[in-house]
Amino acid sequence: MRYVFLLLWLLLAAVPLHAQDAQQLLQEVDRRLQPESYEMYRKLINIEPDGDKKAFVLYTVKKGNDKMLALFLDPPSEKGRTTLRLADNMWLYIPDVGRPLRITSLQSVVGGVFNNSDIMRLDFSAEYHAESVKREDGEYLLELKAKSNSVAYDRLRMWVDQEARVPTRIEAYAASGLLIKTLHYSNIKDFGNGIVRPAMLETDSPLHKGYKSVMLFSGVKPRDFSDEVFSLSFMSKAGELRE
């Protein structure tokens, strides 16, 4: 019986699921990771090869498929910097400069391994087509292709836990096929309101050998916002959204 089960399991692992299944799975992953509209706090920690760390704290709100606002709360040198994303449009507000500047998703806001695209990422299903899914080593492996060239990574390979339906590992590739970075999700936590998701994301990159970045998630909760919160006028007031 044991061998029959093993044979069945191997057969299942070898059978690729349809693209439609892949898209559905990707959408489920999105909903498990975060509600469609939410607020959350994130801490980004850049770790240098010698162990030195630099931390950034962000307050983020998102609405629907294409609206996101992120405010830096720490360190003091970055405090008040706000990034707004409306679909493929992105702006950066720096308090001293005093007006929002258009930026691209490829630019880095904080230096190190993270770039704007990691910080201002919308739902995976909003940015990527799920081309296929298969079972591999007890996980689903989703192959994702960017919907447009405004997305920082052309292809993603996403390993998804079969039970929790959340990513365990994501490899991000450039259009040339070059591996840009690998994201490792861990520390699944119950955030309340039915949100059970990883509370930690570690990133390493062959382009930044020896450097590592960690993103910690906290205070993830569903919240609705008016569309006007996601406007240039509101960027200087983003801090007022906190409760």
Binding site: R2, F5, Y41, K43, I45, N46, E48, D52, K54, P75, P76, S77, K79, L86, A87, D88, N89, I94, P95, D96, V97, G98, R99, R102, I103, T104, L106, Q107, S108, G111, G138, E139, N149, S150, D161, E163, A164, T168, Y185, S186, N187, I188, M200, H208, Y211, V214, L216, G219, S226, D227, E228, S231, L232, S233, F234, K237, G239, E240, R242, E243
Partner: protein
């Protein structure tokens, strides 16, 4: 078996990986009634003077006191904060500066902003001293009708505001017109309020209509005739590709006063309409190099001949050796804006910045140049910036001003300069 296998696979996910190492307490980031932040800056600077320049001779007219260089030390303290109650807040931003150079010690303290704000998601009311920033240009903003002129060689420095009352109404839509915002502003000028905006007292009305239309930022701006002559403007910004942004500004000023020096070295005020514009791009290469290129036409700027007359005026006053003649010439030239940055008509600004050169994280290197297209003089500013130390930012910059005699950058007092700026943020 299946559960056992799944459980085994989930173990790494459920383990609190290095949780003790990465602590994250969000309570210290929640909204509080008071917020306070700022930075302290020190900047030692070595300046090498151009002893052949007109400005050098004006600054050091006597032969027994003609230094070739000096050391300048400056310090800046900037404080920002707010007190909030419900949907209202009281905001402030102040700056204190001190410096010591060849002229001796000096200091200053200014309130850059102090204003009351009441806001909802769609409507914001502000009253008090406020620094509004209009325009999409990086180095210049011809449509910045009610803001102080920025320093093109360091455009990101904070600037003092004016006392205003303003409303801002914003509305978002689905469709090609994605957002609209309207900002009317009242700016009074009396002998004690906003007196540096203009010597002519009046209650001035300015406004901005912002549209996000088909992924393009568009602003329509105006300032009614009052303390300054009336003006209208337009600006835009759009991403042409994922790594290429284009922006521009156009301003038309009605009946603007220009100070012209006639052949007899008498100052004439000539009133005429003027048009200024700016066109720029920002490009990010695959190697993480950012290029900002801007062309600026200053419609009320001096022509090459007009500038030449001012140089001749200053030169002939200085050659008399009479202090009163020099002071008179300085006053005339100053009245015409001759000592302000970029007083002529056509300029090019190029900034090239490289993120993390030599794979050094938190380091950036940049080179900025402003070229006067009329007299072909230019400034060249190379610099490096390092933000790797917690709460400390280091910036090392040099500056070289080059140009022929009687050219803008060729006649600067300082020919070469090197400075180190250390900022501590709290």
């Amino acid at each position: 078996m299946s559960r056992w296998l799944t459980g085994l696979l989930l173990i790494p996910l459920l383990m609190p990986v290095q949780a003790e190492e990465f602590d994250f307490d969000i309570s210290r980031y929640e909204k509080k009634p008071f917020e306070f932040s700022g930075h302290l800056e020190i900047k030692p600077e070595y300046r090498y003077f151009d002893q052949d320049s007109t400005l050098y001779r004006l600054n050091f007219p006597t032969a027994d006191e003609q230094p070739s260089s000096d050391d300048r030390y400056s310090g800046v303290l900037e404080l920002e904060g707010l007190y909030r109650s419900g949907a209202s807040s009281l905001n402030f931003h102040a700056q204190a500066t001190a410096q010591h150079d060849i002229y001796g010690g000096s200091g200053n303290a200014d309130v850059f902003q102090l204003y009351y704000r009441h806001s909802t998601d769609t409507l914001t009311f502000e009253l008090g001293k406020r620094a509004l920033k209009w325009g999409t240009g990086y180095a210049w903003n011809p449509v910045g009708f009610i803001q102080r002129v920025k320093d093109p060689s360091d455009p990101e420095l904070s600037r003092e505001g004016f006392v205003i009352a303003s409303l801002d109404y914003v509305k978002s839509f689905d469709g090609p017109l994605q957002a609209i915002a309207f900002t009317p502003v009242l700016l009074p000028v009396t002998h004690s309020i906003n007196e540096d905006f203009s010597p002519e007292g009046d209650v001035n009305l300015a406004g901005r209509l912002y549209l996000l239309y088909r992924d393009t930022d568009i602003d329509l701006l105006f300032l009614t005739d009052g303390s300054r002559s009336g003006r209208i403007g337009l600006d835009f910004s759009r991403n042409l590709a994922t790594n290429l942004e284009m922006h521009g500004e156009l301003a038309w000023i009605h009946d603007q006063a220009r100070f012209i020096l006639d052949e007899g070295e008498a100052i004439n005020i000539r009133r005429q309409d003027s048009t200024s514009y700016l066109l720029g791009i920002r490009y990010l290469s695959a190697q993480d190099t950012t290029y900002i290129l801007e062309y600026y036409h200053n419609g009320s700027g001096l022509s090459k001949n007009e500038a030449e007359r001012f140089f001749n005026l200053l030169h002939s006053a200085e050659s008399t050796g009479e202090v009163s003649a020099v002071e008179k010439a300085r006053h005339i030239a100053g009245q015409a804006g001759f000592f302000t940055p970029n007083y002529m008509r056509d300029y090019l600004h190029l900034r090239v910045s490289q993120k993390e050169p030599f794979d050094i994280v938190y380091l950036s290197a940049d080179l900025t140049s402003i070229i006067n297209l009329q007299d072909h003089s230019y400034s060249l500013v190379p610099g490096v910036n390092y933000t790797g130390f917690n709460n400390i930012e280091l910036r090392l910059r040099a500056a070289l001003n080059q140009g022929a005699p009687h050219s803008e950058f060729g006649e600067k007092l300082v020919e070469n300069r090197i400075e180190l700026r250390v900022r501590y943020f709290f």
